[in-house]
Amino acid sequence: MQDFSELTAFIHSLLMQFLPHWAAVTVECVIIAVCLLLAYSLLALFYIWFERKVCAAFQCRLGPNRVGPWGLLQSVADMFKILIKELISLKYTDKFLFALAPYLVILASMLGFAVLPWGNGLQIIDFNIGIFFLIACSSIGVLGILLAGWSSNNKFTLIGALRSGAQMVSYELSVGLSILTMVAFAGSMSIGDIVNAQANGWFIFTGHVPAVIAFVIYLIAGTAETNRGPFDLPEAESELTAGYHTEYSGIHFGFFYLAEYLNLFIVAGVAALMFFGGWMPFHINGWDGFNHVMDYIPSVVWFIGKAIALSFIIIWFKWTFPRLRIDQLLALEWKYLLPINLVNLVLMVCCIVYGWHF
C-alpha cells in the first residue's frame, strides 16, 4: 500500500533545502490550503451532479445530460451562474450577521475536512482528539444557520432557524453518542489510530451487534445533521419556501448550498472512518491473493469511494421518504434514538470488557 507520508516528507525536505523553517511551513500551509479548497470545490461540484443523476434515476428521468459528457459540466455551469449573480441586500436586516452566517456555515464544513483521513499518510493533521475536534467544529454550522434565520428579518427564516436549532442540537447527541460507542471500541480519539485499528477488519464487522446499531443510528442522525430529507424541516420547501436561506442570493446562497453537500460528504466520510475502516482496503483473513489485489487500489480511492457509497444511501433516503413533522422528529430522537444509543454504549463497553467482539 502506497504511503503518502513519503511524498509529504519529500516535499518538506525539498523546501527545507532552500528555505528557512518558518517559510517552509508557511509554503506548506498554502499548498495544503489550495489542495483543500480544490478538493472542496471539486467534491461539491461532483456531489451536485451526483445527486441530480441519482434523483433522476429514481424519478424515471435522465437528469442533466446537455452540458458536457453525461452532463458532467452542468454543476460547473450552475456554480458559475451562482457566482455571477447579484447579492441582493435587504432592508431592515442585521447586515453584519446576515453576511457572516454563510461563512460560518462553510467554515464549519471546511474545518471538518482538516481531520478526515484522505489516504494512507494523507491527512492534514492527526492529533489525539481528532474525532472530537470534528464533532466540535461541525457544531459551528448550527450557529451559522441560526444567525441566517434570525438576521434575515423574515418569519419563514426565523421558523426555519428555530426548527434547525432544535433539530441539530438534538441530533448532535445521537451522532456524538454513536461515535463515542466506536471510540470506546477503538480505544482512541485519534483518527490515525482509529483507522489503523481496522487494519484486520472494519469495525462494522469486528464490532459485533453494538457496532451495527451504532452505524444505523449514526446514519439516521447524520442525515438529520445535514438537514437532508426526510429531516429537511429547516428548509421544508412546501412549508417554509426555503427555510433559513430564503433571503440569500448569489454566492451567499451558494455557500449554504455547497456546505449542505460537503456536510453530506463529511457525514459519509466519518461513517466510512468509524465503521468501514477509513482508507483501509477490504481484507479477508487468509485470502492473501485477494488482499494483495485490494492493496493495489489506492487508499484515496478507497476512502472517497466509501464516502460516496454511503452518501448514496443518504441520497436514497431523501428521494424516497416524505418529510417528518417537527414534533415527530424530536420524538424520534429523544424517545427512541437517545435511549437506544445509551443502552448500546453500555452494550459496547460490555463487549469490550468481556472480549465478545471479533
Binding site: 434523483c55 429514481f58 424519478q59 424515471c60 428521468r61 418569519k155 419563514f156 421558523i159 428555530l162 426548527r163 430529507g229 426526510p230 429537511d232 424541516l233 421544508a236 420547501e237 412546501s238 412549508e239 417554509l240 419556501t241 428521494w319 424516497t320 421518504f321 416524505p322 418529510r323 417528518l324 413533522r325 417537527i326 414534533d327 415527530q328
Partner: protein
C-alpha cells in the same frame, strides 16, 4: 315534495310556493332565519346541507336564492329571500349560525351584490380588494376602468372585520372587531407559496409551531366569470368552464351543457352521453393522479410526483387526440360533443386500463404504507360527518368523513344509472381517509370506463341545436360530481340569448373555507397535509 309544501305552509303562512325546476319557497326576510332553522332541525325536513347561495339583482329588488339539500331524505329545495332596505344598504338575516359554510357564501354575495347579512360575524369582501368601488354583479354596475384602476401600489389591508347586528329597537348597528388577537405572530403563507396550489393566501397566527387561527384570503385569480357569462351567448359561456378546475375540465363542461339542455329541452344522443361519461371518468383518474403526486410532494416525497404524472400523461395524450387539447378541452357542447372520437381512442383507453391497477399497487407500496406517511396523515385534520355537511365539504373529502355525497349515486345523470360502481366512503375523516378515498375512486372510475368502452353506441354525436339559442324564462339548477366535489350551475333566463344570471357553485370554495376549522391547534406542517388532502384548486374557488 307536496308534504314539505303543506308543512311549511302551515308553519309559515307568509310563505308562497312556486313549482319550478326545484320547489321554491319565497319568504320575507323577517321570517327567513326561523324558516331556515325549521328546515334544518325538523326531522321530517332535515335540510342540513346548504348547497349554495345565489345572489340576485332583479333590477327592482335585490335578494338571494338559497339551495338546500337534505342528506337524509335526498330532497332539494330552494328558498327565495328578497332583501329589505334600499338599494344602497340592502339587508338579509344571516344563517351563518346554522350552516358553517354560510359565512363564506354570504361574504361572496356581499362582495358581488352589496347585500349585508345581519349577524354574519365576518362581513368583509371575499374576492375583491378592500377598496373596490361598486358591486360588480349588480345590473347597474359601472364597468368604467377609471373607477377601479389597476393598483400600482400595495393594496390596503385591514386587521379589522365588520359585523352588523340588530339592537333592541331593531336598528342595525355596525361593529368592528379584530381578526387576530393583538400582537399575534402572524405568518403570511401565500399568495406565492409552494403548498397553496395556486395563488391562495393564508394569514396564519402561530404560537411557535402551533397554528392558532387562519384567515383565508381569496380572489387573486378572480376573473369575474359569472359577470362575463352574462354578456355572452350560451355557446360562449362554455369556454369558461375549462378555466375553473383546469385539472379536470370535462365534468364542469358536462354540468353547464346539461343545465342548458335541461332548460332548452334538448335530447342528447346516446353516443354523446356515453362519451361524456367516459371523458368525465378519465378526467377523474387524471385529476386524482395529480392529487396524489402533488400531495406527496407537499409532504416531501418528491419522487411520487413522477410516478403519478406518468399515468396522467397517458390520459392527457388520449384527450389530446380526441379533444385537440391537453387541459382546456372545450369538448362538450350543447347537445352533445364537438367532435367524434379518435380512431385510436378505444385502444388507448384499454392500454390505460391495463397499466392503471399496476400503478395503483405501486403507489400503495411506495407511499401509503410508509411509516412516516402514516404518522403525518393519520389523525391529522379530522373532519366529522356533521361538520362535513355543515361546511358543505362534498366530493372525495366529504366521503372521507363518511358522508355518502356522490351525485353520481344520489342524482344520477347521463348514463351513470346504467353502470355498476361503488361509492367509496370512509369514516375516519382524517387526511389519510381523504387520500385513500381518492386512491380507491381511481379504481372505480376505471371500472366505469371498462363497462362502457366496448359499448359506445353508434350514432350522432350532437343533437340539432339552433344556431341562436334562447332559453325560455325561468331558472334551473344542475349539479354534477366534479373531481373535487359537487359542482353546480344555476341559470336564470329572461328569454334572451345570454343568461340573465349564471351562478357557478364550485366545490373548492368550501374546501378552502374549512381549512381554518381543521387546522386549529395543529402544527404548521399539518396545514400543508390538510390543505393538500382537501385538494382545492384556486381558479375554481375564485372563478
Amino acid at each position: 315534495m307536496a308534504n314539505i309544501q303543506e308543512k311549511i305552509a302551515k308553519l309559515f303562512p307568509e310563505a308562497s310556493f312556486e313549482e319550478a325546476d326545484t320547489l321554491t319557497i319565497t319568504i320575507p326576510d323577517a321570517k327567513w332565519h326561523d324558516l331556515a332553522k325549521t328546515l334544518r332541525d325538523d326531522a321530517e325536513l332535515a335540510f342540513d346541507y346548504l348547497v349554495t347561495i345565489v345572489g340576485m339583482d332583479w333590477k327592482d329588488s335585490l335578494g338571494c336564492i338559497y339551495y338546500l339539500d337534505s342528506t337524509k331524505h335526498n330532497t332539494h329545495i330552494a328558498v327565495k329571500v328578497i332583501a329589505t332596505g334600499d338599494r344602497e344598504t340592502p339587508y338579509i338575516h344571516s344563517i351563518s349560525d346554522l350552516y358553517a359554510i354560510g359565512c363564506i357564501y354570504e361574504r361572496e354575495v356581499y362582495d358581488f351584490f352589496g347585500i349585508i347579512f345581519i349577524g354574519n360575524p365576518d362581513m368583509r369582501r371575499l374576492f375583491l380588494s378592500i377598496d373596490w368601488k361598486g358591486f360588480p354583479l349588480r345590473k347597474d354596475y359601472d364597468m368604467d376602468p377609471n373607477i377601479n384602476p389597476v393598483p400600482l401600489e400595495s393594496e390596503r389591508q385591514s386587521d379589522f372585520t365588520q359585523m352588523y347586528v340588530e339592537d333592541a329597537d331593531g336598528k342595525i348597528v355596525k361593529e368592528e372587531k379584530r381578526v387576530f388577537v393583538e400582537n399575534d405572530f402572524v405568518v403570511n403563507i401565500g399568495p406565492q407559496h409552494p403548498a397553496t396550489h395556486g395563488v391562495l393566501r393564508f394569514r396564519t397566527a402561530v404560537d411557535g409551531e402551533t397554528i392558532k387561527k387562519i384567515d383565508v384570503y381569496m380572489g387573486y385569480i378572480h376573473r369575474g366569470v359569472e359577470k362575463i357569462c352574462e354578456m355572452d351567448t350560451y355557446f360562449q359561456t362554455l369556454h369558461f368552464m375549462d378555466r375553473l378546475d383546469y385539472f379536470s375540465a370535462h365534468p364542469y363542461h358536462h354540468c353547464l351543457c346539461m343545465c342548458i339542455e335541461k332548460a332548452a329541452n334538448i335530447e342528447v344522443p346516446r353516443r354523446a352521453q356515453v362519451i361524456r361519461v367516459i371523458m368525465d371518468e378519465l378526467s377523474r383518474i387524471a385529476s386524482h393522479c395529480l392529487f396524489i403526486g402533488t400531495f406527496c410532494m407537499d409532504l416531501g416525497a418528491t419522487t411520487m410526483l413522477f410516478y403519478t404524472l406518468r399515468v396522467r400523461e397517458q390520459i392527457l395524450d388520449i384527450m389530446d387526440k380526441t379533444c385537440g387539447a391537453r387541459m382546456t378541452f372545450n369538448y362538450e357542447t350543447i347537445g352533445g360533443v364537438i367532435a367524434d372520437l379518435d380512431p385510436d381512442f378505444v385502444k388507448d383507453v384499454k392500454a390505460l386500463l391495463e397499466v392503471l391497477p399496476k400503478n395503483i399497487k405501486e403507489y400503495n407500496k411506495l407511499f401509503t404504507g410508509n411509516v412516516i406517511t402514516r404518522n403525518r396523515m393519520e389523525g391529522v385534520g379530522v373532519l366529522s360527518r356533521e361538520d362535513a355537511i355543515s361546511w358543505a365539504i362534498t366530493g372525495p373529502s366529504g366521503r372521507g368523513s363518511g358522508w355518502a355525497c356522490d351525485i353520481r349515486k344520489t342524482a344520477p345523470y347521463a348514463v351513470y344509472d346504467e353502470v355498476e360502481f361503488d361509492e367509496v366512503v370512509r369514516t375516519e375523516g382524517d387526511s389519510m381517509a381523504r387520500f385513500k378515498v381518492r386512491m380507491d375512486e381511481m379504481e372505480q372510475s376505471a371500472r366505469i370506463i371498462a363497462q362502457l368502452i366496448d359499448k359506445i353506441p353508434e350514432g350522432d354525436i350532437q343533437a340539432k341545436v339552433p344556431k341562436v339559442l334562447r332559453l325560455p324564462e325561468g331558472r334551473w339548477y344542475q349539479t354534477v360530481e366534479g373531481c373535487r366535489g359537487a359542482f353546480g350551475i344555476y341559470i336564470e333566463s329572461d328569454g334572451g340569448t345570454s343568461p340573465y344570471r349564471l351562478k357557478i357553485a364550485p366545490p373548492c370554495l368550501p374546501l378552502a373555507a374549512v381549512v381554518d376549522h381543521l387546522t386549529e391547534g395543529s402544527k404548521i406542517a399539518d396545514l400543508i397535509t390538510i390543505g393538500g388532502s382537501l385538494d382545492y384548486i384556486v381558479p375554481d374557488m375564485d372563478r
